[in-house]
Symmetry: C2
Subunit: 473 residues, 2 copies
């Protein structure tokens, strides 16, 4: 998951439902009226869903997606956009997909940024000497070779910086913002450098965007603004941020030396990885399942987004293995360049006709125990998807929530009629590991991954095989 | 808390109680018969306990122990035995104690080891290149300058190493032991080097001794054995240990380069820090409250054992401030050299007469929300302490459990008749941070520390002021 502040708007859709129907009494909010034959058809998929679930949780496919993900992650480690390692990982997935006889296996070209972190070091010089752990934020400029040595202004919000702007000139500004939620708090990562530069500061450091820390800094992309000086920007640990805040509140003079060798290289050619189970009736129409293959350059990208990419990819493997070929195509796309701002998804959207896209599904918020899906679509599509989710009782994952803020990559279709869906899962600890060295296979659990896969394959199969296309009007 | 495997024996005391009494029907296990006047006397301390609790949770002392601890920790950071920084921290505590007018303020000499970590680096060379985070274990020898490059044998237990001893020769042995409990699992930290060397291995790496990780290695002391070659030994993260285990199970050849500059220097003169509220009737007899001031060379030692040291020290400050001078003395000792094997406590025991020690209390397992105490003593003492703990209702911390395994430092008196007590608290996450960079002020909570302090000051005051000395026979 990138970290673009797309998650601002939340759960405000709804209650449009059941309004178009003519009748003497108003229908309750959320009421759905589907033709009985369609309801019957959907409930008829119980057998298929059971078959999928049985294969994944008790049968031949049990534990396989975890095994494939672990093998991949252990082989490549992190997969940063712009690196040869990411391209090797993409080749591996394409070759493996061809070996397994998946359909329409190919890469689609995407030009991605290539930012290189280089050596990073922050030293507290006053009131005492200490090393501060840090991670430069994506796209940051470097410092001079000997670093920037400057006094520190500690603030707890942009508002406070505004009020104390006259103290910021020539200083390193440290933001010790409060964690509220990722959607609300990530603005400090995205905008700290610009706000600091506008106030005359020379570098910005933020408290890592996480609710919990074991001295673990968290990176992520950030945004410079045209016309505003680009200054070095990095995240420090929660622990160090809180220490600096305490020192500041005591009136102690704080001085830091910040060294960053960050470098923005020329853009690099990368690829979205595409594999399918091609439909047998209307193969041009397709349900998209997706996650991103690229990762940050810390941890191993096992959670963000190895898990999401692999349940998407393995859904295709599984449907092929089980001989479940739907009417329409189910296509897995493993995005590239997600972390730098949905670069792969944007390229895909430009290169592929939108009218064939029946439903765009994404898993990029963890693959912990699944709960169901969140969904964006017109009322008639909502009614169908609600009925489909009733089938997910074997995985105990029948939750259905409406949201205008679905996933990250598929948000490139947010302003189109394309229905969107994201995996809902027990991801309360997701941001403990997100964009940090803690994003490793240890976070993933084989049984949970199996359940996510069973849900993912089932939903995509059923929607791809329905007698009606998911409505967009 | 050091990490010596003192915690093996657990909760096996009990049921000795209520046996010496003559009577027709046997008393139930745990039955206590105290003279009614003594019960009445103990319950008479309700007012004193309320006064202490009120001062700490609502009054002038509210938040003070957190503030003092944070000021100290932010000023000195970690305080490793053998360093000038630890001695500066001890001077600071002595000076502060004198400024506050505490009684009998002095340092008592202790010779402590001086082990210096130096630069450390572990590189996975096969099956792929990756940096492995590590922390050398205390007392480890160094590697040659270019490190040790060797193939790896991964085992999950000492038993497995025994069975595969013929594969260990010339290899780095990686222990991926299962976390069971600190007491059970720490044997891998303590004994990995010896077991590896005995099997012909050249270095040992262990999965850090923790139930949870965000890519955080955990250090701790380890023990070489006379006559067995001393080889370099370190802890890697849970994440890397699990990765190496997966690679090994796949049959992949693993090779690591391990570099450690560790150095054992000459021993150094340090001090236990002693302060008192001197008793007004029998000042030679005393209740000891204690924690250790030294720490590991990672994190800040805020939890291990800043919290324990500061509730002990502040108990004295508080009793003085409240004018609660007991009949006997309450003495706080802030141990030095705990992490290297209870060095300060052992020196104190040798230098001070044991017969004056009424009760030895220690807090070295966290200062989270208090629950009560664990205790070791004769049945009559148990009965008294149970009655005393009934007073701790204002802190909601009346738990009383018997154990032969109390704390760490005070275990130097384990084979003596001295009654021992340790703070019981909600420390379920203690080992998440223990001996790692995560041991920072962020772990500590002002309100929880206040409650621990109220308990600590109350128990020590009441026992020091009782009409009877806590029995030892």
């Amino acid at each position: 998951m990138t970290g673009y502040p797309v998650s601002m708007i939340a759960l405000i859709f709804l209650a449009l439902l059941g309004q178009g129907t003519a009748g003497p009494t108003p229908k309750p909010a959320g009421y759905c009226e589907l033709e009985p034959s369609l309801v019957e058809e959907i409930q008829g998929y119980k057998t298929a869903v059971q078959k999928i679930n049985e294969a994944v949780t008790n049968g031949k496919a049990k534990g396989k997606v975890y095994e494939e993900l672990a093998t991949f992650v252990d082989k490549f480690g992190f997969r940063m956009s712009g690196t040869k390692n990411l391209e090797n990982a993409i080749d591996y997935m394409l070759n493996k997909s061809m070996d397994l006889g998946l359909d329409n296996v190919h890469g689609e070209p995407v030009t991605v940024p290539h930012w290189v972190r280089g050596h990073e070091e922050a030293t507290l010089l006053k009131p005492r000497q200490a090393n501060l752990k840090l991670l430069g934020l994506g796209g940051s400029v470097s410092t001079p070779k000997d670093g920037i040595t400057a006094k520190v202004l500690v603030v707890q919000s942009f508002k406070e910086l505004e009020n104390r702007a006259n103290e910021a000139k020539g200083k390193i500004v440290v933001f010790v913002e409060k964690w509220e939620s990722y959607g609300k708090t990530v603005t400090y990562r995205v905008n700290a450098a610009v706000k600091t530069a506008e106030a005359g500061g020379v570098a910005s450091l933020i408290r890592s965007i996480t609710p919990f820390s074991i001295s673990s800094p968290h990176t992520g992309w950030q945004a410079y603004k045209k016309g505003v000086k680009q200054i070095p920007t990095a995240a420090i640990t929660v622990e160090d941020a809180e220490m600096l805040l305490r020192m500041s509140k005591r009136g102690e003079e704080i001085e830091i030396n910040l060294k960053m060798e960050a470098n923005m290289m020329d853009p690099v050619q990368s690829r979205n990885t595409v594999v399918e189970v091609t439909g047998h009736e209307n193969k041009d129409e397709y349900v998209l399942v997706s996650g991103h293959l690229d990762s940050w350059d810390v941890g191993d990208g096992a959670m963000d987004d190895g898990g999401g990419a692999f349940i998407s990819w393995y859904s295709i493997v599984l449907l092929k293995q089980l001989g479940l070929v739907p009417k329409r195509t189910v296509r897995a796309v493993l995005w590239t360049g997600e972390e730098e701002g949905l670069i792969g998804a944007a390229a895909y959207k430009n290169a592929n006709p939108v009218n064939n896209l029946v439903l765009a599904m994404e898993s990029d918020e963890g693959t912990f125990s699944p709960r169901g899906i969140s969904f964006k679509g017109v009322p008639k599509a909502v009614c169908i998807m609600k009925e489909v989710m009733k089938l997910m009782t074997p995985m105990n994952a029948t939750d259905f929530t409406l949201s205008n803020d679905i996933g990250s990559d598929v948000m490139v279709w947010a302003n189109s009629p394309v229905p969107l869906a994201a995996l809902a899962n027990a991801n309360e600890k997701y941001f403990w590991f997100h964009h940090s060295d803690g994003d490793r296979m240890t976070v993933e659990n084989s049984k949970e991954l199996d359940k996510c896969l069973a849900l993912w394959a089932s939903v995509s199969y059923v929607v791809a095989n329905l007698s009606v296309r998911l409505p967009t009007v």
